[in-house]
Every structure is written in C-alpha cells, then in structure tokens.
Symmetry: C2
Subunit: 419 residues, 2 copies
C-alpha cells in the first residue's frame, strides 16, 4: 500500500507578482555592499521569503525533491552551517561591484553566513551557493612528472609522495537574467521565454515573475582548484597560470584516447604547479559541460557518426558531424565562463593553458589580459585524438605548429569502430 500524504493542500501552479502582502527582500545585482545587494533566498519553506526563480543545488534539486517525496527528508529542514565557512578568503574584488562582469554566479555566495548575519537572526533561510575547502590531490601523471624531474617536491605545494596541496571551491549557478540577456545581446524577455518554452515548460515564473530577476537553473556548476597562495592571484607582481577545462568524463576519468581532455588538464596542472612554485598561483576551472554541453548521449551518437561516415573519422569532417546531430558545433557558451575569473579577482593571466579561440576571446573581451597561450605538447596528444586537435587548429584554435589545409585535414584519420 502506498503511504498516504498527511496533508492535502491547494497547489499554486504559477505565481504572479503580488500587489498585496510583504514583498521579498530585493536583490540589487552588482551593488558592492552585500546588505544593499541583498541575499539570494531560494527557501522552499517560506514562500513569501523567496526572491528568486528555481531552487538550490542546481540539477541535484530533483534528488532533493525525491528525498522529500520518499519521506527521508523533512521539507522544512534547515542546514546547520556550523564550521562550514570558507577556509580561504576570496574577495571582495572590484569586479563584484560591476553588474556586467559577473552574471552567472553570486559573488557573495561563499560568505552569506557572515555578510547576511542579520537576516539569519531574523529567521531567513539563506544557503551558501559557493563552498571553499582545502584538499590534497595526487594524480599518477604528476608522480610521473616528479620521477622525470619536470616537477620537484618543495614540501609546501608539492609534498613528499607527490601530494599537491590545493584550495578548492564549488560554485552553484546563480543567473542574473538581465545580465545574461545583455551578455548575449538579446532582450531579457526573449531569454526568459526561451528558457521556459525550449525546456518543455520549466518554471513558468520565468515569464510571469518579471519582478524576480535571479534564476537558479537546474544545471551543474563549476569547481575551482587553486595551487599556491590565493593572494598571489590578484598580485600584479606575481605570475598566474590558468586552465579553463570543460568536463569530459570519458577522458578525464577513464582516459579515452579520442580526445586530449585529460592530458591537457594534467598539463594545465603541471603548469599551475610550476607557476605556484615560482611564487605565483595556478587556477584550474572545471566546468560541468559534458560533450560541449550537449550531454554524453549526443556525444556518443556523434562518435558513431564520425567513425562510420564515408572515408572514416577525418579531421575535415570533425565539426560537421556534431552539427548534423546537435544543430550546433558547440553549446558551451564561453560568454558566461569569465565570471568565475572575475569572482577570483583575475585581471591578467600570464600563462593561459588552452588553445581554444572561444575561451581566449571570451576572456579578453571580458577585460582580462592574456600574456601567453600554452598549447598542449605534441607528445601528449593520443594518436586517435589527432582528428580533433588538427580540426580545431584549422578552425582557429591557437597553434604554434603548422595548421593543415583541407587536403591535409582529409588525410588525418582516426581509428575505425572495428579496431
């Protein structure tokens, strides 16, 4: 027998701005003083307190709903945030007070417990959208780099045994809709409508609650790994290395050889360690945008189409196959990516470990200077990933080696499915 619901309440399908009753605390995006900026409140317990569309934890909000449905979680549970405060101080930076510089995360997300203390005392349920901790990480490739004398143990950044000491931050998406619309040069209304209609009708409030300007989308967020002294990030006299990496589970975890993702990530970490050991800092930004934010089902469909097309997997048809299946070559929207760099206070990157022209353009257009671009060393490119890397170089990716013409690209072939 299914359990019975204890209460039967009226369901409100879609809220509209109310002309009566208390108004929620307003969010004045881009205001430097947190109390004047206002907290992001997505509590599901007090509907009248909510000042955003959506709920916390990105896509994991669906699991939270399952937990409530199945009876293991009280819907009014309030997080006990004792001892959870950041282990490193990040910001505030001038970019935090610029409504155009950060539009896809809440710069105050890590310090809500401090800056909104007075609201907690009044009973508001405010959740951190950023958490900052410390960790030791160890990757076999870094141990190999130590064994081969490319990296050395210094006892502070790299410990004996190859442990790497890092500060790391997890960041949930918090979208300021007018800012997102401006970034894409579209009307806010069109953005709201597409987010509602093109997801099959997710969150009608997107089109009914124009008074709510902030949206917590059900997507995964970003993780930041910082090597070296956090304060070096904003010190103009100290070098900074950055790799912005978009998730690729197949390579990052399992070491699939069809792309350069994990080798390039590891190379990025190596450059970060070296830069930190020179007295600077290194930053790895890890975005959860699997398969160019098309998801892994689409990615695998594209792999099959690439390997099976006439003439086999070829660099000259690399982008076409994705476009046939997905309608676009890429859905990662690097336009939003620099926000996390602004949150960290980055204004100049000495070593940018990326060849992507999309990332380069997004970062430099966001007003961050890039001094040097670091391509992946040739010896780290798996043979089957030559198709990808040559196609990308020909399409405008940064390269220090020769870029192939159309005939050359047609000759760069990947493995067939039967091998």
């Amino acid at each position: 027998m299914p359990k019975q619901s204890p209460v039967s309440r009226h369901i409100v399908l879609t809220s509209h701005p109310s002309r009566f009753g208390p108004k929620p605390i307003s969010i004045n995006w881009g205001v430097s003083e947190p109390i004047k900026r206002g907290p992001v409140i997505a509590t599901l317990t007090k509907q009248t307190h909510r000042n955003v569309i959506g709920s916390h934890s990105g896509n994991y909000s669906v699991y939270r709903a399952l937990a409530v449905a199945s009876g293991v979680l009280q819907s009014d549970h309030r997080a006990d945030l004792t001892n959870t405060l950041p282990v490193a101080k990040i910001g505030p930076h001038p970019s935090w007070a610029d409504p155009d510089k950060i539009v896809s995360l809440d710069p105050f997300g890590a310090v809500v417990g401090e800056v909104f203390k007075s609201y907690y005392e009044q009973g508001y349920d405010i959740r951190p959208t950023i958490a900052i901790t410390k960790a030791h990480i160890n990757m076999p490739e870094l141990q190999d780099a130590i064994a081969k004398d490319r990296l050395h143990i210094d006892g502070t950044i790299v410990k004996p045994g190859g442990d790497l000491v890092v500060t790391k931050a997890a960041i949930e998406p918090v979208w300021y809709l007018p800012g997102i619309a401006k970034r894409f040069n579209i009307a806010e209304e069109d953005l709201r409508r597409a987010l509602f209609e093109e997801t099959g009708g997710m969150f009608p409030e997107l089109v009914t609650r124009h008074d709510l300007k902030v949206f917590l989308p059900p997507i995964a967020g970003v993780t930041v790994y910082i090597v070296g002294d956090v304060s070096a990030i904003t010190d103009p006299n100290k070098p900074l290395a950055v790799r912005v990496h978009d998730e690729c589970n197949g390579s990052d975890v399992f070491g699939s050889d069809i792309c350069t993702c994990r080798p390039y990530l590891v190379h990025g970490i190596e450059v970060c360690v070296k830069t930190a050991q020179e007295g600077g800092a290194g930053i790895i930004v890890y975005f959860r945008k699997e398969g160019r934010a098309l998801g892994e089902v689409t990615k695998f469909l594209v792999y099959n189409a690439r390997k099976r097309q006439e003439g086999g997997d070829r660099a000259d048809a690399y982008f076409t196959r994705t476009e046939c299946v997905a309608g676009v070559q890429d859905m990662r929207f690097q336009e939003l990516m620099p926000d996390v760099l602004h949150w960290l206070g980055v204004t100049r990157i000495d070593r940018m470990v990326s060849m992507s022209n999309m990332k380069y353009e997004a970062i430099t257009q966001a007003g961050i200077k890039i001094v040097e671009r670091v391509p992946i060393p040739d010896e780290l490119v798996p043979p089957d990933a030559k198709v990808e890397i040559e196609a990308k170089k020909a399409a405008g990716y940064y390269a220090t080696t020769d870029v192939l013409d159309e005939n050359g690209l047609a000759r760069v072939k990947g493995r067939s499915l039967s091998d």
Copy 2:
C-alpha cells in the same frame, strides 16, 4: 541594442489534458513489443506530438534553451541520426517487458531509429535517449598493473601499450512516474507534487497532466563501460564482474585523498578486465550523482565541518556532519540504480566490486543474484580516507576485516585543514 524577437506568440503557461483534437501516441510502459509500448516523444516543435513531461538531454536542456535564445540554434532543428545507431546489440531482455523492473530509463532508448521507423516516416521527431559506442581507454594505474604483472596484455581486451577496448553506453534519465512511485512505496500523486513543489515549481505539468506518465527530469544520466564480450553478460556459464560507481569529481579526476572513489573505481576496472580475460565480462556503471547526489557545494561544506569539528575529522562523526548540513546522510536513491543492470540483462553478478550495503540491497531486492562481494584492498585506501572507510564499515558496509567499535572509530582521524 538587443535583437528583437521576430514573432510574438501567446504563451501557454501550463497545459492540461485536452478533450479535443488528436491525442498523443500513448506510452504503455513495460510492454515488450516496442510499437505497442510506444515511442517517447519530447519534441518541442510539435506540441501535439509530445507524450512526456520535460525535454531531452537531462540538465543540458537548459543549454539548449540558451542556444535557441541566443540565436545559434533553430528551435525546430531535427537531429540527423545517420550512422549513429548502436555499435553493439543490447537486448531486448525479459526485464524490458516488466514494468516494475525498469522505471528510470527507456529500454528502447538506443534503438528508436529501428523500432519506431514507421513513426519517423510519418514525421515524428523521436530522439535516442541511449547511445552505444566503442572506445579505447588508458589509465596510468592500469599501465602500472600491467608493469606489476597483475594484468596481462592479451591483444584483444588489453592492447599493447595498455589500451583497454570497451563498449560504452550513455543513458539519459526517462522516468515512468507510476513505477518510480511504486519503487518508493508512495502515491504517484505525492511524487508528482513533491517533484513540482520541492524544486521551486518546476514543470506544473507534473500536477496537471496525469495523462502523461513519463517525465524526462533535468538531471544527468549514467555511463556504462563494458569490458569483454557483451553477450557474456547474459550467458549463465560465463563470469560477470560489476562495479556501480557514483561520481566523485574530486577523486575520480583530481585524485583527492579524502575518499576511496578513484582507487576503488580503478580496482573495479582491474577486476572487470580479469573477468573478461577469463571469457566473461565486466561492467562499470558510472552514475552522475556527485557528493551522494547532494552536489559539490554541500560536499565541500561538509568537508569543512568535518575537519573543524571538535576533535577534528573522526570516523565516529562521519555521517553526522553530512546530516547536519543536508538533512540526510545520502540522497543517491540506490532504489533506482538496478534499472541499468536490468537493461543490460544482468541476472547474476559473480564479483560485485562494492562494499555498499545500500547498493547490495537494492540489487538483490531487484532480483539479481550477487555471488561474491569484493572490498577495496587495504593498500589502495589513502591514509586520509580511513575516516570514510571505517565509518562506512561500522555502518554496515561489507567488510572482510575487523569493524571498529565506537571507541575505535573515535580514534580514526583525518588530516586537519592546516596540514
């Protein structure tokens, strides 16, 4: 100047079952014949064709909406699925025809192009929710296992150089709501209401469209890696090894030493390879359930609370800290996990590479026999991860070594934040 929207149309906030006009093709969940079961249609182009709530690509549907909003994707783009069909045949299995055995994925999701051919010819836009491809993967730890003679190169499964040949599948979530409710022993109506209300009002159709029984939730899916011959999975005379792994980006990718995730995953792959080399097969199931499906922000908050609590990080307070922050110890809902094993046709697992009692119970209660459980070898547990593994063993995880009492647990300590 923001671009102007070319068309101004009426917005339908919430649909209700229509008494007029054509009804969508119905989905008869658990019916063995695909044409009688009916296709899952989530197209956003023809509203009248839709027979589900939500849209494709899980959480990546939000990026798709951004792509349409920003003008890079035509909303009516239809996938060209040429050459994308699965590279290996999986199913149909008897479990596909049991509406209770599979409730969180569409067993026909990989073969829609074949089984629903007639609907494509009528202009229906049906998308695969599963894609199956082949890959070569290579992990430094596996090369090490070869160097140490724990694994050997056979030329077919393990190639010279340590490349491992795998068949892999990506699976999008497709939830049959009555089945999900039944699995949790709750009323379908309560499930629908919690999914709607406890996400901040996501998809009102959950509560208005009781005629639509299938929901595509905006969460990430599952990846399956198969080592060895796919047909061995269902052969009662051949051994099968399985590891069900829940994503942990910090360890799986970056090798954080606070948990055993990557070491156990790699050990799982090693057991899979050995089992495949004995003529059987090995399966790694990789679920995107970061931080016990609580997300990484919560995870890092918990890390800080663990390391800073009185007495430092201790095995006897391991679960308590998560519960304080999140309200639950775990949100992974292993109840839904065995679906993917049923999709693969698994009925007996000879070597289950997991110590989790929750996974064990979910699998055996789903009617799949587990012959042997394989714990993580002691030497693979990083020193700082002893807190986790001892706490889990004391809480009921499978163990072949001694389980500590309360005093013993209190003595198992992790590193402090300042180290």
